[in-house]
């Protein structure tokens, strides 16, 4: 029993070290891709289109709904305590700092994380990755780096969109419940919005983007020989992505509020 636990711990630690080495290589090749910008440029553009642009509609719909819900709940609840003005602070904290990056990450995991893991898994089973190596293409620079950059850039862009649509959604609901002038609403909002809020949201998006892309790539590359491993890779990419993003969110939020 003890030996099994020990073996599992050693295997887990080995996998962690391997994943860190993989991450370091992806990071290095991504910098080189940014500097050279030739090999993999088309893959990068396609990744941004798929992850960042194609997901705009679903991210916008979610943001509008979340912004509206926060306003509906908050305005009725806070009014009971005579703290109606806190609505703007709560909107900023929930949408910009917390839910924006996290929900955007969930959208990206569900769409792009699974797509990357299963696509790479399919390529591995079909020996396409070996074929790239055989002709002299580095799979990390050609396959992994553009997808990594594409997801990180798209996550940040999507988070900005989520913020914009979330706050607009809230404004729309305000008009239905307590009509208020456009200028006044946004003046109140910007009065409580600090650079720290924006940096926190963007910082989380970047970290989540890194986590999602590296986990998905790692799971995809881990597929070895069977097509049945491909959906498993997709499932693992989603599970690990969710867990690591939530964990990272807890750590970053703790640092912000307790540090």
């Amino acid at each position: 029993m003890l030996s099994k636990i020990g073996r599992a711990a050693i295997d887990g630690f080995d996998e962690f070290l391997y994943a860190m080495g993989f991450f370091a290589r992806v990071l290095r090749e991504s910098f080189l891709l940014l500097r050279r910008g030739q090999v993999g440029r088309r893959v990068l553009v396609n990744q941004i289109l798929f992850t960042g642009i194609d997901a705009l509609a679903i991210a916008a719909a979610m943001a509008l709904a979340i912004g509206a819900a926060i306003n509906l709940i908050g305005s009725s609840l806070l009014a009971e305590f005579g703290q109606g003005k806190l609505m703007y602070t709560i909107l900023i904290i929930v949408i910009t700092r917390e839910l924006g990056p996290l929900l955007t990450a969930f959208v990206v995991i569900a769409r792009s994380g699974t797509a990357i893991a299963t696509e790479l898994g399919g390529m591995a089973v079909g020996h396409e990755i070996e074929a790239y190596v055989a002709v002299g293409v580095n799979p990390i620079s050609y396959i992994a780096a553009p997808r990594f950059l594409g997801v990180v850039i798209s996550m940040t862009v999507l988070d900005v969109y989520f913020n914009v649509f979330g706050l607009i959604g809230s404004f729309v609901v305000v008009q239905l419940v307590h009509p208020i002038a456009f200028n006044e609403y946004f003046r109140n909002l910007f009065a409580v919005l600090t650079p720290g809020d924006l940096l926190s949201g963007v910082g989380k998006s970047l970290v989540f983007g890194v986590i999602i892309s590296v986990v998905s790539l790692y799971r995809g590359f881990a597929v070895e020989r069977s097509v049945t491993e491909v959906p498993v890779a997709g499932i693992k990419a989603v599970g690990s992505g969710f867990m690591l993003c939530i964990l990272a969110d807890v750590v970053m939020t703790s640092v912000q509020y307790l540090g």
Partner: protein, 314 residues
Amino acid sequence: MGVAPELELRGVTCLRGGYLALKDASLSLAEGETLFAMGGAGSGKSVLLKTAAGIGIPNSGDVLYRGKSLGRMSSREEAAFRRASGFVFQDAALWANQSLFDNLALPARLHEPSWGPADVDRAVRRAADLVGYAQDLHARPAELSAGERKLVGLARALVLDPELLFMDDPSASLDEAAAERVYDIIAALKARGRTVLIASALSELASRCADCVAVLIDGSLCAVGTYDEAVTWVDPRVRAVTGRLKARTATPAWAGGLAGAWAEAIADDSFFLESAEPPTGEGPGFEAAARLSDIINDVEGADVATDGEKKDSS
């Protein structure tokens, strides 16, 4: 000090999925030699080939290309090795999200950045002609049969006219005519002094082309030697693999097996000079196309010779 072999494996051991796929394998391949790695299914032929080609990384041991370890090559040296080598996968391994043309063009675009689109186009079309693939090159691999994909995979490996070729079961999925063409291509490459490492269980193909034979059983290299030695091996386990190899007569089996008349023609240097299409333009693409033209002429010369022989005999 002797000349280093073109390719050498020194005590290579490979673990794949928790089992020993290759155990302490050592062999060397001189320039211009054709080595057949023979063995049953799951004997480690593909692992041997991929490790020798630097696609798989050995757990221990070393693979050397012209005396230089693949694992210690600089990126420039590795690029030169990739430029000089080609790999034919057992299942073609074409990139599904690219057209056939892009599949064939990638090695050229990667290793010959000075080539213009016309040069790349010419080299791609000559490689497709060489393997006898005459269909639309803008199709996707999924639209092709397994045999057609195999031919395109071979064309991809040949597009830069490599000096070292790795072929994993080259006749798998092919019909008889296409397999014959592949045999002819191997013979033509051999005649041009290319070094070829083939993994195959087919005795007929080995009888035609092999200079050396290596027998793999359960990941172990049980026997390595020249073709003539392989014919005389008596170990029952080895004979179970090599038992159908035929002793060669005076005519080299790899040439005689193609066609008697062509074997004579290819032995005559003038054959190449007469049949080779002169390049019709300037530039690196024309040079590559011209080299491939030579091979096509060899192959088509073999077909003509075979037909002629059949007519004569009838």
